[in-house]
Assembly symmetry: C2
Homo-oligomer: 343 residues x 2
DNA sequence: TTGAAAGCGCTACCAC
DNA sequence: GTGGTAGCGCTTTCAA
């Protein structure tokens, strides 16, 4: 039962060919006659032989493995991203090696581990980036790509949504909806997504001579966001428009508004999120939000990774994938003549 | 910039030792003097040398890679499982190689691929299992473990929740709550989870001389579940108690009940799910459900996988992890004297 | 404790 | 088109 796995030699012997031929039979485009290939594959099948990717990687120096570091899986955005990334990488012959950092979100302990596996590239999503990490990767020539995140120095490539434009669009939308007291619920203070969305939002308000009336921090955490919401709605003159750094936060805030303060969301208070996760469209939420098209972002990520791996790209790229305002029922709407601001 | 990755030889040369010593320095428990180890590690660090896991795997014949096949990531249960599994495997020195089958849920095309990577074991969650797959794995001596799923023939090991007990408990709970017209919304007809939960539910009803009044199929899909719910609530005498095969389904059904039929959930109609995903506890849902403790299930999975990999276990094991009824507000409650039926 | 040497399973290069 | 051969980077004997 403890049968040893068959090797290319076993197949070769049984097929009466050289081991090289077995290798060729499993390599697309290798020079081998159709009949030889057929016979080898038949023998291989009969032995349940499968080429050893480990051995192949060792010699080709390419592992076809992509290290993906991801956490915050309770935010529906990320599982969707992971599934999409995995599927898209698979289409291009890559496999995802998953790394889920601990709650601290620091990927450094994982760094070593990731690189030991000779991954072709690293994709970091929802993980804090230390510059140390990027340097180490650069040193061993492993491309790094940030998904839905950026570093301040622009040295590391990234794929993100339209955070600034989205924030501005939402600001404009809420202004046009006749709101007066604007609040922002931030995610993590040091995350570029939260910063940029707030920046766009603030810019829109400023352009109209308004500013953020209240600001809370939800740390991209459901219960922290609930706490933030409680503070927000407890104030004497509560905000009538709340922009949350992402949908996950918005849904937490919404729950508190309805269940604990009895507010009619979309009427007494407008709540807007960011991401357009599947949840946002559910009847219970009907969340107005700015979309981040996961599929497009994933495809773009895979394209960039591939370009880096193949050496077609060598300098950092910062790709921004367009989204759009998804108008649902969680926020009061402006008149029909409202148009999103030009990007 | 295209610097070649340093190998153990490079480190050896610079440290003035043999390459074997470099290997020993990175192998816990290898016989090497403290000072030699220290020097080697120092040199290694200065070169950014990291042992090549690929090469190591080739020689040790153990990849420390676990193939995890997973889909249905829109059901919050699975992302949580994935995160927990990944974390738990990491603790034991294993890494997760992720496979996300297409929408058809058939893992067969992945089979080859998974096995080519010389994975130490395969964990299948939310993926349809073909017996073919199990046989192939057995043939090359790769342990397979089903997570939250079983096969009818019991030949493949599994870790599941208390599906039958849970279903029975829910049936008893709803009966005690004074409900009259019971409905079940199935998941996928051929999934063991849906079958077992229904079985337990039916048994409880039968013991009380009742039976399922209406039955629909939601295919574990949000919009299919919504459709099922519409049929359910459109009938003249609509059910007053709906047990859904999982939380994901229950939440879809709940949304339809409230938004489209204006039903007060927990009063006019009781809805119960299964899993106890994080969503279930959110204020908007307050879903009564039977829990599947993800962390315990994951730990158990890792333990079993390890036992199989190390050869301590050779025959199939079917582990059932205990859950409990989470009583919230989506279902009318019985009096305080109600007790769950003995398992 | 240390070094030399064999070889894991494969690809790639070389002759033929 | 085919077979021989040289390694990929490492662990693991085996002597010293």
């Amino acid at each position: 039962m403890e049968r040893k796995r068959p090797t290319a030699y076993d197949v070769a012997r049984l097929a009466g060919v050289s081991q090289s031929m077995v290798s060729r039979a499993f390599t697309d485009g290798a020079s081998i006659s159709a009949q030889a290939k057929e016979r080898v594959l038949a023998v291989a099948k009969s032995l349940s032989y499968r080429p050893n990717m480990i051995a192949r990687s060792l010699i080709t120096q390419r592992s076809r493995l992509i290290g993906v570091a991801m956490s915050y899986m309770e935010n529906q955005f990320y599982p969707t991203v992971l599934e999409e990334l995995s599927r898209e990488f698979a289409v291009h012959g890559y496999r995802v090696l998953l790394f889920t950092p601990g709650a601290d979100g620091n990927p450094d302990p994982l760094l070593d581990e990731i690189l030991r596996f000779q991954v072709a590239a690293v994709v970091l999503a929802s993980v804090r980036m230390t510059s140390h990490f990027a340097e180490e990767c650069a040193q061993v020539n492993v491309p790094v790509l940030l998904f839905n995140r950026r570093t301040s120095n622009q040295a590391v490539s990234s794929v993100t949504g339209q955070n600034i434009v989205g924030g501005r669009t939402i600001g404009s939308f809420l202004l046009a909806g006749g709101h007066e007291r604007f609040a922002f619920v931030a995610g993590l203070e040091d995350s570029s997504t939260s910063q940029e969305r707030e920046e766009g939002f603030g810019a829109a308000l400023q352009a109209a001579g308004k500013k953020t009336y209240r600001r809370e921090v939800g740390y991209y955490d459901f219960s922290a966001a609930q706490t933030a919401a409680r503070r927000l709605f407890s104030s004497r003159e509560r905000p009538d428009a709340v922009f949350c750094a992402n949908d996950h936060t918005a849904i937490a805030v919404m729950g508190v508004a309805q269940s604990e303060f009895g507010l009619r969301v979309g009427e007494e208070v407008s709540i807007v999120g960011f991401d357009d996760v599947a949840l946002a469209a559910w009847p219970s939420f009907q969340l107005t939000t700015y979309s981040q098209p996961v599929q497009t972002m994933s495809q773009r990520t895979v394209q960039l990774v591939q370009a880096f791996v193949e050496g077609r790209l060598t300098t950092p790229v910062h790709d921004i994938v367009a989204g759009e305002l998804m108008i649902r029922r969680s926020a009061r709407r402006p008149g029909n003549d409202w148009k999103p601001p030009a990007a």
